[in-house]
Amino acid sequence: MIDNRDRWRLPALLAALMLVIVACAPAPAEVSPPADETAAATDGPGPTEAADAGEVVMISSQLNPTEEQETMRNEILADFNGTVDYIGAESGPFNDQIRAQEQAGEGEISLIGGLDGEFSAFAAEGFLTDLSDVAEDLADLNISEDYLELGRLGTDQQLYIPWMQATYIMVARNEALEYLPDGADVNDLTWDQLTEWGANIQAETGERRLGFPAGEDGLWHRWFQGFGYPAFTGGVNTTFASDAAVEMWDWLTETWQYVNPQSTTYGFMQEPLQSGEVWVAWDHVARLIGALEADPEAFTAFPVPSGPEGKAFMPVIAGLAIPTTAANPEGAKALIRYLLQPETQATTLQAVSFFPVIGTDLPADLSPGLQAEADAVAAQLAADDALPALLPVGLGDQGGAYNQVFRDAFQQIVMDGQAAAGVLDSLLPDLQAVFDASGAACWFPDPESEGPCQAG
């Protein structure tokens, strides 16, 4: 019983903290262009260090799309007192470059930006230095103790410093709202009601206008890992081929007839939402903000729907770590301090829609688009049946193979029309191979495991 409550403790706290931070964000006093606000946020003395930090090479699996990389270089890092060579990387090259540097015993990379699950693999191999001193320096920023606890990765060392957070929500064009099923509340939908909604839109307009980012660059695999599976089965890995999972796949297959068939080309849902090809979409907040910022009046942001097991969603926590072989560890520490300053965190929110991890008040008002997202995130977290599902933990270089299992299942079941039960059984060995190769234990909401997670 106690174990079971412990199991809930971390995700519940994560969710609570996100709620507090989002709720604390001040409401916009007046509508003003985001560019001005960004400028306002970086005005004044600025969070620069006293001494020049020199050149810092930073590699990150987050802020990797080209536009986000450019924003990182030109806006977020602009006021840093030093030179940052920022490299955004896909998970494969990201892992390779960091491992190559560790194996060589020296290299250029001084700062790593990544997800909790990515760091746990590096930490297990002894790649990361203790940042307890940096955490102490930053004590007055009130970074949540729970996030810092995550950053210790079960050790007594601060192996990474929390950096920024995000999640996934839904956005609809306002003209879609009139087709909502009778009695449905857009802020408290079920996945079945979404299907009905899509069916209504198709019946009335003749077009399939639900949308998912199932293209090459889309984050579609996260829908299965953090939304579909937990909401329908209450787990992910231990329920991969369960009867409840088959129901989830049957739901998706049925719903797909109301999903725009061009979804297999979509990377960021903000574009098809803006063009009107798609009226109702699910995606990462950073990949929806373009539509909400361009025309806040035309769109409604709302929480993800619930399944039989609850309103499952995936909070994303990114952190910063310094490898043991860093060329410029002092410069990297200065860069961490810079990225955690309230001004920089506000710029990060305005520029790339990743929310702050610090507890201090934000200096800038939120633009209407961001405010809409913040409200949707808050409503999602506050839902009675909220079920936060963690990103994969401890998969290391198996992360891509893990995602592929879900994408393969989608390809075979929904696109090729094969029976879900047979496909899921045939993919179980691939899923198990990921856990055996990485040694990763199950993560929430699956029950904890002794040793590698057992797919089921």
Binding site: G215, Q262, T264
Partner: protein, 284 residues
């Protein structure tokens, strides 16, 4: 004469040989070693087997072959027509050459993105069709549920993008045909079609062979156009190799895919060498 040259020709060959060994042969051998590496080192077929039971393997192979079969004849017919137009020395000959060669200067991915803006649901093609009253609703061209429409879109984009390279080779070949041959044909009263069939095409055989081999190898490597236009809706071999190397982070299976592409390219090359022997090979 040859005796006096001594070692000089070999010395001159060395730099290019070294280049080929370092940048082509070595990575190729390494790739094969990766593909056939056993689970605990040594030789093994586990990675090749993994490739064969990859969910996308069959569709990637079939789509790639379909693209090769569809794109190459279209490109050759177009390139031949374009080359003959240029060789006819019409007014503004230079202009035609520049217009036809324009796609050569555009990167594969950029071309793909341009074609996406044409084919996407709210793109140029649907706007034009609706403007002309041909259709009253936006047609979804890029849907995985209508694979032949999707392949058709890729074929059009590929034909536009990569026909000019063949045209350049054919123009060079055409210009090396001595005028006397065509004049002699005129003297005997040959029609234009007879001249093309009996004089031009046989004399063009070496150029055609080179262009076919080059284009086939490139067609097996087709990548960026497909990714841009079809996303995950259409699989091709090069895309699978990239996916296994970058997204899945498994270099062994990626190497197996790369090896398969190499194998197919070699089979294609040998096929054209056998089916389209040039005069020297005939004599040999």
């Amino acid at each position: 004469m040859t005796a006096r040259l001594g070692w000089a020709p070999y010395a001159l060959l060395l730099p290019s040989l070294a280049f080929l060994v370092v940048f082509f042969a070595t990575p190729m051998v390494q790739a094969f070693a990766l593909a056939f590496e056993g689970p605990t080192g040594g030789f093994g077929l586990t990675h090749v087997e993994r490739m064969l039971r990859d969910a996308s393997f069959r569709s990637a192979l079939l789509t790639t072959l379909a693209l090769v079969v569809l794109v190459i004849p279209i490109q050759f017919a177009l390139a031949m027509a374009m080359a003959l137009v240029i060789n006819a020395r019409l007014k503004g000959e230079g202009l035609w050459l520049y217009v036809y060669a324009l796609p050569l200067g555009i990167s594969e991915l950029a071309a793909g993105i341009v074609w996406v803006s044409i084919f996407t649901q709210s793109g140029w093609l649907n706007s034009i069709l609706m403007g002309l009253g041909i259709t009253d609703r936006q047609i979804v061209w890029q849907s995985a549920e209508t694979p032949w429409l999707l392949i058709g879109a890729v074929v059009i984009a590929e034909a536009w993008r990569a026909t000019s390279i063949i045209m350049i080779i054919l123009v060079a070949g055409l210009q090396s045909i001595p005028r006397e041959f065509l004049e002699a044909a005129d003297v005997y009263g040959a029609t234009t079609w007879q001249k093309i069939r009996r004089v031009v095409l046989p004399m063009l055989r070496p150029s055609l062979q080179v262009a076919l081999i080059l284009r086939t190898i490139l067609a097996f490597q087709v990548f960026a156009t497909v990714v841009a236009i079809a996303g995950t809706g259409l699989d091709v071999l090069a895309e699978e190799a990239q996916r296994w190397a970058t997204d899945i982070d498994n270099d062994n299976v990626a190497a197996a895919y790369a090896g398969l592409i190499l194998l197919l390219s070699m089979v294609g090359t040998v096929l054209f060498l056998v089916l389209l022997p040039t005069r020297e090979e005939h004599q040999a």
